[in-house]
Point group: C2
């Protein structure tokens, strides 16, 4: 093992620069694959091929939700999961002397929404003014590809990590986290985890937990001529949503006493994100489904949050004669994720700060308290692994014209490469 000296660091940074055109091309190819939920397979194929081509030992497997269901952090899936795969490429030196590392990114992206709202099509990546536009360009194909090319740069500079490195390409980050959970269940462990989610170069100090649920509201259909005798599931769903907005306000009020989130404005967001109900304008609708997301604080128990949500909906329904007899259902259909705080990670944080400082000058990255989540929680909460989340500058993630700053991607790749070199140590290749 050879600790990186300034000469090695400089060579690695030059290699990132030299490889950046190929990296940008690779990123564009990956962004062009519409890897929305259930359709991640071709993106995983591309990552697997890239890992094999580079000589990594590749472990790729179909995820079996039944094997994961008993594990903490599991969130239920209801769609066809037969193509759901995790891909891990591993570098294992002949004699490991340094500290091992997991680099992880997700290929799943959220749906693009109406295409006419995009300046250029979401899956035809376009570079304008130094930004690559496209769904997933920011969240988080640029980080995943950055990790791959950071390792390439170390190799191109004539080195190899002196400890095992696992590059994990996962899915389901946006909905359950089952990709990351499957890697944990498969047994992948390391002395540190780095997940390069887009984060404006800020280190994630804490993240909220998230619950997904479907609110299923029934109605009593009638001809609208006698609408008063029916029960409109759409307007009933609206009353349930209002009640949940009340719960959201209450939770944010309580958050003002939280040791970490006390000073974050409105950390817990409730979002009715998808709605569907009824089938005829002149019939009182018999059903309305609302897919919802709500945040919970680190330290909050999933079961308690679930009970409060159930109670809120039951309470709101109790005032209505029809809903009292036909109570809305709350179906847990995705994330059941706890919040998490990065603690006891002084060693990797310090090594990371050095790498950051080399590239950006400032002594250490700023920190952020996220009002969303990342896959880091699985490693931190359930396996005691320090898990850093840090990545490039992106805008409009989950919105239209999502984009990532390519200069930031390059510098982030440098930071990652220097961190790998320093954390794992280097051997001459």
């Amino acid at each position: 093992m050879k600790p990186p000296d300034s000469g090695a660091n400089a060579a690695i940074r030059r290699a990132v620069e030299a490889g950046f055109e190929a990296q940008t091309r690779f990123l564009a190819e990956l962004v062009a694959i519409p890897s929305v939920r259930g359709q991640e397979a071709p993106a995983q194929d591309m990552m697997e091929a890239a890992l094999r081509e580079r000589g990594y030992a590749v472990d790729a497997w179909t995820i079996d939700p039944a094997a994961l269901a008993p594990l903490p952090g599991f969130g239920p899936v209801t769609h066809d999961f037969s193509r759901a795969r995790t891909v891990v490429g591993s570098w294992r030196p002949e004699t490991a002397t340094g500290r091992s590392l997991i680099l992880q990114g997700h290929v799943d992206v959220v749906p693009p929404g109406p295409l006419e709202m995009w300046t250029t099509p979401p899956f035809e990546p376009a570079i304008r003014n130094g930004w690559m536009h496209g769904r997933g360009a920011g969240d988080m194909k640029s980080g995943l590809v950055g990790a791959l090319f950071a390792l390439d740069a170390i190799r191109a500079a004539g080195y190899a990590p002196a400890a095992p490195v696992h590059l994990q390409s996962v899915i389901e980050e946006e909905s359950t986290g089952l990709g990351a959970l499957s890697a944990c269940q498969r047994g992948y462990r390391a002395d540190c985890v780095l997940i390069p989610e887009p984060g404006d170069h800020c280190l994630t100090r804490a993240q909220v937990g998230v619950l997904w649920f479907r609110l299923r509201v029934r109605g009593r259909p009638t001809h609208v001529a006698v609408a008063g005798t029916g029960s409109n599931a759409i307007t009933a769903a609206m009353r349930m949503v209002e009640a949940l907005q009340g719960l959201e306000a209450e939770w944010n009020e309580r958050a003002k006493a939280h040791p970490i989130y006390a000073h974050v404005d409105h950390p817990l967001n409730f979002n009715p994100g998808v709605i569907s109900g009824g089938d005829w304008p002149s019939s009182v609708p018999a059903w309305c489904d609302v897919d919802c997301r709500i945040g919970i604080l680190p330290g909050a128990r999933i079961e308690d949050a679930q009970a409060e949500i159930q109670g809120c909906v039951a309470q709101a329904a109790s005032g209505d004669p029809f809903l009292r007899e036909n109570p809305p259902e709350v179906v847990w259909n995705g994330f059941l994720a706890e919040g998490w705080v990065l603690e006891n990670a002084e060693e990797p944080e310090s090594v990371f700060a050095d790498a950051f400082s080399t590239v950006f000058g400032a002594p250490a990255p700023e920190e952020r308290l996220m009002t969303a989540l990342t896959d880091t929680r699985f490693y931190g909460l359930y396996h005691g692994m320090p898990a850093l989340c840090w990545g490039p500058i992106a805008e409009n993630i989950h919105g239209f014209d999502e984009r990532v700053d390519l200069d930031s991607v390059k510098r982030s790749t440098e930071v990652m490469a220097l961190f790998i070199a320093s954390w794992c140590g280097l051997v001459k290749a």
Copy 2:
């Protein structure tokens, strides 16, 4: 021409009784055809074949919306209309001596909703305790088939109407009325119109008008982590619906001064009937569409109602910074129908009351003020034809387990046959 005597009446009623098993079978076959909007063709094929088989002169044509668009009462269609047909079977005596008649019914039915809510499948008609269950059994295949078999009974009794009779099988009654409008445009006229919609044996004295519209609400999508910076189209749509509920209340308040509807409780119903929005629980939704229906009073002008609806939505949007810049759209996508009152119809009403009295004993049918509409309006409003709407007892129309009372269907068929005989007069066949 021979006015029907009690002997002819008795023979006709016996013929209805004798034919009722075949009538019930025919009705079940027609109910088994899922003639929801856009899929009415096989039901129209069945009606056309039945009319041809009986020797009527059949006129069946594809409806051209462009030819109807300039006509009063037109409502826009946005779906594939290439299979939309009207079928008319006409009886024309060699020498017409009596009063001519249009008998009209619609084969289109509203969607059945979730199948699991039905005791027996909506398009597998089942008879239980004297009721035929099935979507459209009540609204209004039983009435349409009743008209066909009423004519059959007259023939079976050895007679024929002494004046032209047009049996019109139409579509789009539930959405625009374009089937009826196309028959008007084609030139069909008569001294009276009878539409046997289900109505618990009540004669329709008045009906409201109806407007359909799609409320298209935009949002500003963001990651839900920063939901406060976005604009949720679903919750925005809820605010628009609330505003329209306010308009509904105001209109019903005004209705208390209406010469006819003053004492009808809540005659004008607003119904958000279909909703659809967003595509991801953890993204702030960028759009939400709500398909709505609202009633207007007889005498109210369509343009005035449209302007009030537009103004209500604009006003509700004006308080929101995002919606002010991205105002919700109101798209007129179906009924633009005026209300209507049956007036100046003493002659057909009197003849109808006699037929009713012969079957039910009571001197005349009770009257109803409908809070929905029927196709009668086209004849009454735009062509000065008296148009009676009267039909059998049905339950749960537009709901689950729609059903029609078969004894009521039989007696209604008798009433129709006697009315035809008396209105048109009879000749020996």
